[in-house]
């Protein structure tokens, strides 16, 4: 969490912006939460501390969070963007069940290895990668 706060601070400074209680609250709520939050999820969580918070502020802060390198966007093809913490999570794949819509993840070091090798072969400088696997989960199968 320290690392993330520092990244956020640095990004805010770098863009000549200011911190605020709302931004801090949104960031901390995001960091405390489970994975795969939508803007709406986060909005409702923050609303408990800031009843007057608006979607606007949540969206704007999420943008800052992504720009800071703290989080990244994931997409499960249901029309909603979700956000997840990035740091130290480079080795995981997302599983999305096409029957119940639930998703979970799995870690495997080879995901990073494979992405890095492919990128190198293409003369591409990789910053980030996503592996999503769609199918039927244990419960639905």
């Amino acid at each position: 969490m320290e690392k993330e706060l520092e990244l956020f601070e640095r990004h805010i400074q770098h863009k000549g912006l200011k911190r605020s209680n709302q931004r801090d609250c949104i960031l901390k709520t995001f960091l405390k939460s489970e994975r795969h939050l939508s803007a709406e999820d986060l909005f409702h969580m923050v609303k408990q501390d800031y009843p007057h918070i608006g979607y606007t502020t949540v969206y704007r802060t999420l943008r800052l969070i992504v720009e800071s390198g703290i989080a990244e966007v994931v997409d499960f093809d249901d029309g909603v963007k979700r956000f997840e913490r990035k740091l130290g999570r480079e080795y995981h794949a997302h599983f999305i069940c096409s029957h119940c819509g639930n998703h979970f993840e799995a870690f495997d070091v080879n995901i990073k290895t494979l992405s890095s090798r492919l990128a190198k072969e293409q003369g591409f400088l990789p910053q980030n990668h996503r592996l999503e696997i769609f199918g039927i989960c244990k419960k639905c199968g």
Copy 2:
């Protein structure tokens, strides 16, 4: 192309729907085209044959195409869904340049192998997978 037409026919039949010149034209245009078409791209291409075509019909037919198993959705985080042919293309990764926005792909048999192994470990029945790598391309690097 034969294989895809058959899949489409079967899906149409199965749902008790009818074929039409527009649907055939949209499907054939899609199949003839390059990869990674947005609905808008396809709309403009089909408009050359059917000046009165509407977005609606393109969207509805794209849905049928995806349902038939002919194509799948890819997402480059720019707010637009893109569609690409599915058959025989299980071994590729997408590279998206975060500077110029261009994208290309690379084939590697290990992508499928890795996805299948991970899914097996999770008791998950995989139907489909996506590997997207974001970063800086050769030109922009």
